[in-house]
């Protein structure tokens, strides 16, 4: 398969579409009836999630079992097993989807495979117990389109995730892949760039700089060697959208890098990816090898005089390398320390050459903007933030997963409609957006339409799209401390405000959570935070005080309780807690003593037990063990 012209690409597409037709068809017409070989369905496909989350729950074993079972029943020629990228509904993984009837099975175990094959695939009877059960109505939902989790989503960047086999470039081509590139190469590069500008696409890595403007700046600097860099150093704890895109649709990133190369006149592409993402690395390597093999990377792409090639560079675990100047230094084999801008990478980046850096999610939007037109993209979203945003929804929420919604969707819609509300019926307390650079938003912010400006105005930020929901059991001082510990650990140490300032802030928070804080500490904390924000060198330092500032603004009374009353209302700060057993409620069953990891609980069976405060490590294990609610914490 060698593709040396747009016509060749089109003929490959027409051929590849056939293989995908079963999935496309099931996507448009929904049949409530299960398909089955005995019912006369000639051909079926089993889609088994191959994302990191589902792989952690043995999805590879499930795939293996499917192959074995289909073989044993002699139907391997009629049923394909496809391993696509992440479906997004990680809470109920591993996910298995059957087409053509679009049945969505959740929490599948390797031992369930045989039943799916004999009951569904062969006899055409759905396995009811593996269908998603709506928590509200209790009804079993068979098609994912009817699940609240998917209903409000609009998947643009994730359009191919959970749909195509990411290790087969033909499936990408079947979904109009590389069409945007083919069309762009026929046009003047300035016109293509004008389309990206007109779409209003902004950087999805956090800061929200207009992508078209960024490309335009890089285009103006002339040099023999220019670079297009994909920033895949997704370091935000709790954000995994870039990883999912690379695992589920790596070719969209490659195609966008080529289009960028064409627009800014660069011929080298580099992907800087975390070494912690082995599966994403593997999928990118496969995609690059396949693209090279069929001539979509290399010299004279699609028969034009445009040359472009892409290499992978590995990060080594440093959060600061998400900052573009630090990232470039890391790629040069140096410590990933940021430098002052200007000069911007567009002027002097990788080894002093003009370099354009874009984040994975930003790039994944590019091909579809060009195939569907900038006006279409600009029609989605809010006035200043166009298109959609992918969020990694996690924490104390019922539906943990990866979601994509139009800009302007409210936090309430995301948390309650898509996310299914707070776990275990607890009370919502805060939602943290933007990772270590963002802030905690509260009940009163739930109805603001999300975009770059509104989140910043509320004291948080878009960041890369991590969204962690917290309930009444979370102590906001501890949460601020958690993020600050992260920043202190990840600070590169180059500038004083970040290196020393954050350390001092952490010491103050340590004192407060330890019950040794003073009211003056709160003012010092606020002052220090503002100074660091104003004076730190790079984005990491400038945003690192945000978690502290936003919790101080929204939960000041909690800080004051820690300091004044030595009380942590969420019972998180260990130094402020005392555990005891209520002698009236205690039945003497010894469950707590047997579960206590510190062996701090003693007593005789059928008589009240007691906790030795010297030995107690305040882990809370006894609370989860006690069936009688006899453990008191004050």
């Amino acid at each position: 398969m060698f593709i040396n012209s747009p016509d060749a690409l089109e003929s490959i597409r027409q051929e590849a579409v056939k293989a995908l037709s079963l999935r496309e068809k099931s996507n448009s017409s929904i049949s409530a009836e299960a398909a089955g070989l005995e019912k006369g369905t000639p051909h079926m496909q089993i889609l088994c999630c191959g994302g990191t989350g589902c792989k952690a729950s043995e999805s590879a074993k499930i795939v293996e079992n499917f192959h074995a079972s289909l073989e044993a029943h002699g139907i391997a020629d009629k049923v394909d097993v496809v391993v696509p990228g992440c479906f997004g509904f990680c809470e109920k993984g591993p996910i298995v989807k059957i087409v053509p009837d679009n049945t969505f099975y959740t929490s599948v175990r390797p031992s369930d495979v045989e039943e799916i094959v004999t009951s569904h695939i062969i006899a055409g009877v759905k396995v009811e117990r593996l269908l998603y059960q709506d928590p509200g109505s209790g009804e079993h939902i068979s098609d994912s389109k009817h699940m609240n989790f998917y209903r409000k989503q609009l998947r643009i960047a994730l359009r191919n995730c959970g749909f195509i086999n990411p290790e087969d470039i033909r499936e990408y081509i079947a979904r109009d892949g590389y069409k945007a590139l083919a069309d762009s190469l026929k046009r003047d590069s300035a016109d293509v760039l004008a389309d990206i500008k007109a779409s209003g696409l902004r950087g999805r890595g956090g800061a929200g700089f207009p992508t078209g403007v960024k490309w335009d700046i890089a285009r103006k600097f002339d040099a023999p060697d220019k670079y297009v860099v994909c920033n895949a150093d997704e370091g935000d704890p709790g954000a995994f959208m870039d990883r999912s895109i690379m695992e589920g649709d790596p070719n969209s990133v490659l195609e966008a890098m080529m289009i960028c190369g064409y627009c800014i006149n660069a011929h080298h592409g580099l992907i800087y990816i975390r070494a912690e993402y082995p599966l994403a690395v593997h999928r990118l390597q496969v995609a690059i090898a396949q693209a090279r093999e069929c001539g979509l990377l290399g010299k004279n792409i699609l028969g034009t005089c445009f040359d472009f090639d892409i290499e992978i560079r590995y990060g080594a675990g440093a959060f600061v390398c998400g900052e573009e100047t630090a990232l470039i230094h890391s790629m040069e084999g140096k410590r990933g320390e940021p430098t002052l801008k200007p000069p911007f990478p567009a002027e002097a980046g990788y080894f002093g050459r003009p370099t354009n850096v874009n984040n994975v999610e930003t790039l994944a939007n590019v091909p579809v903007i060009l195939t569907k037109g900038p006006q279409w993209f600009a029609s989605i979203g809010t006035e200043k933030s166009k298109g959609t945003k992918v969020f990694a929804l996690a924490g104390k929420i019922n539906n943990v997963g990866l979601i994509e919604v139009p800009m302007g969707t409210t936090l309430r819609e995301i948390i309650y409609d898509i996310g299914g509300g707070v776990k275990n019926g607890k009370k919502f307390k805060a939602v943290q957006t933007g990772g270590p650079s963002g802030g905690c938003l509260t009940e009163k912010h739930l109805d603001i339409p999300i975009d770059y400006e509104s989140l910043a105005a509320a004291g948080s930020m878009m960041g890369s799209g991590g969204m962690i929901v917290m309930d009444e059991d979370d102590c906001m001082v501890s949460v601020a401390k958690f993020f600050l510990e992260f920043t202190v650990g990840e600070s590169c140490g180059k500038c004083t405000p970040c290196r020393i300032g954050n350390k001092r802030m952490l010491e103050i928070l340590d004192r407060i959570t330890d019950g040794r804080g003073t009211m003056e500490d709160l003012d010092t904390l606020e002052n220090l935070a503002k100074v660091i924000k104003d004076t730190a060198l790079c984005g990491l330092g400038q945003t690192s005080p945000n978690p502290v500032l936003s919790t101080l603004a929204n939960f000041r009374e909690e800080y004051e309780e820690h300091v004044r009353d030595h009380v942590c209302r969420a019972h998180k700060c260990k130094s402020l807690l005392t555990y005891s057993i209520d002698p009236v409620l205690c039945k003497g069953c010894s469950a707590c003593a047997r579960g206590c990891p510190a062996e701090a609980i003693v007593g005789e069976v059928r008589k009240p037990f007691v906790i030795n405060p010297e030995k107690c490590i305040r882990c809370g294990m006894c609370i989860s063990r006690c069936k009688f609610g006899a453990i008191n914490v004050i």
């Binding site: 995994f240 080594a316 990891p597």
Partner: protein, 156 residues
């Protein structure tokens, strides 16, 4: 611990594979760590000599990135996720329990070389939070009371 001559020759080979290019330092360190399991001082000196850069520069890079280690990891490397999702679901308690059961602090290896303990930030299995990995295997929805049993599976 002394690194064998054979291992050092391997390091030289790796450097040569990348044309002794200082720009490839991080890729070279990745390969060395993959092949030896860690990057001790002796290895760093060899790399510095091959690439024609000062040893302190190599040391500076090795210590900057959390992925590189100067001490050998245990046979079963334990990593507890402390990403935000795992943290709010009790990842800190899981870590405390691992420390207690293994009797080591983060970054250390047990005296018998069996277990080493580290933290990491997000493996992306947030649906299973809190999560820990031992070698390649991911353990999800952990409760501190599970830890003793999990460790004992490897102890036998």
């Amino acid at each position: 611990m002394k690194v064998s001559c054979e291992a050092l020759r391997k390091v030289e080979e790796i450097c040569k594979k990348f044309n002794n290019d200082p720009g490839e330092l991080i890729t070279i360190l990745h390969e060395c760590q993959n092949s030896l399991g860690y990057i001790p001082e002796d290895v760093q000196r060899v790399i510095a000599r091959c690439l024609g850069i000062p040893a302190q520069k190599v040391y500076g890079v090795v210590t900057f990135y959390s992925f590189f280690s100067m001490v050998p990891k245990g046979k079963y490397p334990v990593s507890v996720c402390l990403g935000t999702a795992c943290y709010v679901r009790g990842g800190d308690k899981v870590l405390e329990e691992f420390k207690r059961v293994l009797g080591i602090e983060v970054g250390e290896t047990t005296p018998d070389g069996k277990f080493s303990l580290d933290c990491l930030r997000c493996v992306g299995a947030c649906g299973l939070a809190p999560v820990a990995t031992i070698g390649e295997k991911v353990y999800g929805r952990l409760n501190p009371s599970d830890i003793k049993k999990i460790v004992s599976e490897f102890d036998s």
